[in-house]
Each structure stands twice: as structure tokens, then as C-alpha cells.
């Protein structure tokens, strides 16, 4: 499957989050690697890769769930019509959409050759409220063919899931861009 391009704003926030909070899995992996003279990996390399993956997952989940929620709005349903030709509708103002929680996760596996030595996993929870304006949807035969954001604002909270509890580790409220998903004229 194709992943969404990462939102640069989300990548910034995740980078700030990991610098501020840190993830124990990254520290543990770094400790293992420091003991190995043959490895040239540093903890910074691990953090960079975690940032890249987590930003990608958060962006993808946000976009997919936003699309699903838009499809449930009255404005979207009123836009449906029997047309075999594609047509575009602009949904100027939608009520803020409370997206369901989704859980990105990252697994860490340390290997010596093909042998696994150590494994752990970090799971996050993301909750967000998105405000969309001038959303452009292209429909054909009652199916959504294309979806473009006009403007996208997200109030997002990120939690780190532990055994019995979850810990809030970061939140932000800002306008976001998603490369390849913005309407023409928007960056």
C-alpha cells in the first residue's frame, strides 16, 4: 500500500516530542549498540528513524480518518447525485470532526546476523479534532474519486501507551499541510 507523504508540521511536532520526552525503547537500543564495537549506529540515528516513521503513521492516520468522517457528514451526502461523469464539489465549512483514536506503533528488533537478540515495541495513541474548510471532493457514481484539503487545522494529543496506563506526552494545535493532498493554490 502507499503511505501518505508526511506532513512537515507533524514531523516538526514529533521531533519536538521525542526530544522533550524520549522513548525508553530508543535508549535501550542505544545502550545495546554502544556495547557492540562493530556497530556504527548512534542513538541519534535511531531517534531520527523513529521520528520519520511515527510522523508518517500519524499523518496517514489523520488523513484517512478525516476522509472517513467527511463521508459521514450531511454536506457530503447532499453532494451525492446520480452522475456517470466525475464532478467536483467544494465543502466550504464543516463542523469540527472529532476523529476516533488510532494507535501507531513502532517495533524495535536487535539482531546479530539473522538471530534476534532483543525486541520491544512502543505503542502510541493519537486523538485529534480537525477543522476543514474548502474541502474539494470529486465524485462519480456515488463514489469518492478524489479528496483535497483546502485548509486543515488539527488539535492533536499524543499518548504513550504502557502496560496499564497511557501517558500524555505531547499536544499541539496548528494548521497542517499534507503534500499531495492539498487543493490547487494551497501549499
Amino acid at each position: 500500500m502507499e503511505w501518505m507523504e508526511t506532513s512537515p508540521e507533524i514531523a516538526e511536532e514529533v521531533d519536538v516530542m521525542l526530544r522533550k520526552h524520549g522513548i525508553s525503547a530508543i535508549r535501550q537500543a542505544g545502550q545495546f549498540l554502544r556495547k557492540s564495537p562493530s556497530s556504527t549506529l548512534k542513538e541519534g540515528d535511531i531517534g531520527r528513524e523513529v521520528t520519520r516513521r511515527l510522523s508518517k503513521y500519524i499523518t496517514h492516520g489523520l488523513v484517512q480518518l478525516s476522509i472517513e468522517r467527511v463521508k459521514e457528514t450531511g454536506e457530503y451526502r447532499q453532494s451525492l447525485r446520480d452522475s456517470s461523469e466525475p464532478y467536483t464539489v467544494v465543502l466550504h465549512k464543516l463542523l469540527p470532526l472529532n476523529l476516533p483514536e488510532y494507535a501507531p506503533r513502532i517495533s524495535f528488533v536487535l539482531k546479530a546476523g539473522a538471530t534476534e537478540i532483543w525486541r520491544t515495541e512502543s505503542t502510541f495513541a493519537v486523538r485529534s479534532l480537525v477543522s476543514l474548510t474548502d474541502t474539494r471532493i470529486t465524485l462519480q457514481e456515488h463514489k469518492l474519486k478524489e479528496f483535497r484539503f483546502g485548509s486543515l487545522n488539527a488539535a492533536m494529543s499524543i499518548y504513550l501507551k504502557k502496560e496499564q496506563v497511557e501517558e500524555a506526552i505531547h499536544s499541539f494545535n496548528r494548521d497542517l499541510t499534507v503534500p499531495g493532498m492539498m487543493a490547487a493554490g494551497k501549499k
Binding site: G44, Y57, E68, Y102, S107, F108, L110, K111, A112, G113
Partner: protein
């Protein structure tokens, strides 16, 4: 021939009295005849009123539910005006009549949006109402997807491993096979297992819920090596949820102790031991030397430590989960700003 008119006072019916009676009867008949036709205009008026009161029906309908997951059962009600006598329903927007009942029920099996049209008719005429995209059916909850992890994947016997269920889409039951022998060892969500025999064990988890089932097998997942001293563990794999499954794992032969060689000549023993020790030291040294040289070569990476990251997204049933395959983490440049 004699005859005479009778007078009015005569006791017998006189002509005078006869004419009076006849007159009264005639009046009665006339009055009755005049009054009878008066009733027909009244009934005619009623008839006219009934005819003008019948109006053409006005189509209208409602549904008990308009949004849900498939398969979605919807009960429709007719709310048309002016008492239609026939109903034609197109409940899925395909242009064909699906029901002629006044209050039909329809099951939507596929996700999508559906247009509903009702045509009603009576002797006074007919009417139609169409609602586009009236019924919205979304995909039902997907079946579970099995996944698991453990707190250890290798170690020396006896090795206790704690397994964690990572399945998504809310499974309701779990069946674990800790040693790949096809038998269920545990039905707990997050069990522990103790491997007392050295060997390499495959682990399988099967999960189920109302929407389906799935299984995940990790071949050669747990690697158990023998204890440093010769030992012969014979106890079976036990699970830590309170009851033993009684499963025995005869995957590798028991290790038996090698009886010492009896030698009455103590000096020969010592010489033999010294010779073996020196040989072992030389072999170990040569191995380490070769290994340190080979680790510098660019082609030999078989024992190099490396870190792989993988991941994905669990949408909690809202959407199918996503999996991102594992990739090794590459060292970055020193100038690159890392976290």
C-alpha cells in the same frame, strides 16, 4: 223505482260525508307526494360532497434507521397523504421495484449510499418521492488480525517467556501453541511459558471474534540452549496461568551426563588435562583472531549487530490495520541533526 239522497245527518254514509273523506285522503296523498322528492336533493348533495373530497395521493416515507454498518436492516414506513391504495418501492436506487408492501423491510448487504423512491397511487392519481443517498451503509467490523510478541526469544533452559497479545480488532478468544506441535497450550490472552528442553520452537496464536478468526505463526521463534553443565531436564512445558497443560515437548533428546573416564594413573590425568587446556586456549585464540580480522572485512556482516524498525497503525476497527515492513536503521552523517 224509488231512490233518494241520504242526508248528512243520516246514520248511513251520506254522499256529503263520502266526499269529505275522499278529499282528506287526496290531501294526504298530495302532501306525501310533495314531501318525498325533497329527500333526493339532500342525498344528491351528499353524493356530490363525497365525490369532490377524494384527492390525489402525496407520496412520503420514513425509515427507522438511515445509517449503519453492513448488513443493515431498514424498516420503511409510508407517510403518504390522501390514502394511497398501492405502493411501489425502489429501495436501492437500481430502478427496479423491490417491494409493493406499505411498510417494507430491506437488508443492505454491501457498503454504499442508496437512493430510495416510493411511488403511490389511488383512484385519484399517483405521486412519487425520491431521496438520494438516503441510506448510508458502512463496512462492518473486520475480523481480528492475530499478532504477538514476547519478552524474550532466546536463552538457556529453563527459559520462561512471557507472551503479549498484539492482535487487533478485538478478538474474544486466544489459542496458543507454544511449541508448534499443533496442540493448544493456553487460552489466556497474555500467557507465560517455560521451555525446559533446549531446541528451537515455533509459536502460533489463533484469535477469534464474531466477525472471524486469524492466526499468526512465528517459525523458529524461541531458541533455547542447554545449560552450561550437563543436565537432563525432563519436565514438560508449563504455562504460568495457574494450571499446567501437561504438554510434553520431546523435540530434542535429553542431555545425559557423560560419566568420567576412570584412570588410576593420576599423573597421566593431569598431563591429559594440561594438554587439552592448552589446545583449547590455542583454538580459542585463533578463533578470536580470525573473527576480529573478518569483522573488519566489508563482505562479512553475518554477526554484526544491527537494529531493525517496523511498525504500523491500529485503527481500533474503524479501518483495517496497516503494517509497515521492517527495515534496518542506517547510520546517518555526523553533521545530520538527530534526536
Amino acid at each position: 223505482m224509488r231512490g233518494h239522497l241520504r242526508g248528512c245527518g243520516d246514520s248511513r254514509v251520506s254522499p256529503c260525508r263520502f266526499f269529505i273523506i275522499l278529499l282528506i285522503i287526496s290531501i294526504i296523498i298530495v302532501v306525501h307526494g310533495l314531501s318525498a322528492p325533497l329527500q333526493s336533493p339532500v342525498s344528491a348533495l351528499h353524493t356530490l360532497n363525497l365525490t369532490t373530497a377524494v384527492r390525489s395521493p402525496v407520496a412520503g416515507f420514513s425509515a427507522d434507521i438511515t445509517t449503519g454498518v453492513s448488513p443493515l436492516t431498514v424498516h420503511f414506513s409510508d407517510t403518504s397523504l390522501n390514502n394511497p391504495t398501492s405502493w411501489l418501492w425502489d429501495l436501492n436506487g437500481d430502478g427496479r421495484i423491490d417491494s409493493q408492501s406499505e411498510t417494507p423491510q430491506y437488508i443492505y448487504h454491501e457498503p454504499g449510499t442508496y437512493t430510495v423512491t416510493l411511488t403511490v397511487a389511488s383512484s385519484a392519481g399517483k405521486d412519487e418521492e425520491t431521496r438520494k443517498g438516503y441510506i448510508l451503509v458502512t463496512k462492518g467490523a473486520p475480523g481480528p488480525i492475530a499478532d504477538f510478541s514476547s519478552d524474550a526469544i532466546s536463552g538457556t533452559a529453563p527459559l520462561t517467556v512471557r507472551f503479549t497479545d498484539r492482535s487487533v480488532n478485538d478478538p474474544l478468544s486466544w489459542e496458543w501453541d507454544f511449541n508448534g506441535d499443533g496442540r493448544i497450550d493456553s487460552k489466556v490472552q497474555n500467557p507465560s511459558a517455560t521451555y525446559s528442553e533446549p531446541g528451537i520452537y515455533s509459536v502460533r496464536l489463533t484469535v477469534k471474534n464474531d466477525a472471524g478468526s486469524d492466526e499468526k505463526t512465528r517459525l523458529g521463534y524461541i531458541s533455547v540452549t542447554a545449560m552450561p553443565e550437563a543436565a537432563a531436564p525432563v519436565s514438560p512445558v508449563t504455562t504460568a496461568e495457574g494450571t499446567s497443560t501437561g504438554t510434553t515437548l520431546p523435540l530434542s533428546p535429553s542431555i545425559t551426563a557423560v560419566p568420567p573416564v576412570k584412570n588410576p594413573d593420576g599423573r597421566s590425568d593431569f598431563s591429559l588435562f594440561l594438554l587439552l587446556f592448552i589446545t583449547a586456549v590455542l583454538i580459542a585464540g585463533a578463533y578470536l583472531l580470525i573473527r576480529s580480522r573478518s569483522s573488519c572485512s566489508s563482505g562479512d556482516e553475518s554477526r554484526e549487530l544491527h537494529l531493525e524498525l517496523s511498525g504500523g497503525i491500529d485503527f481500533g476497527g474503524e479501518l483495517p490495520p496497516l503494517v509497515d515492513p521492517a527495515e534496518p536503521v542506517q547510520p546517518g552523517s555526523d553533521k545530520e541533526e538527530g534526536t
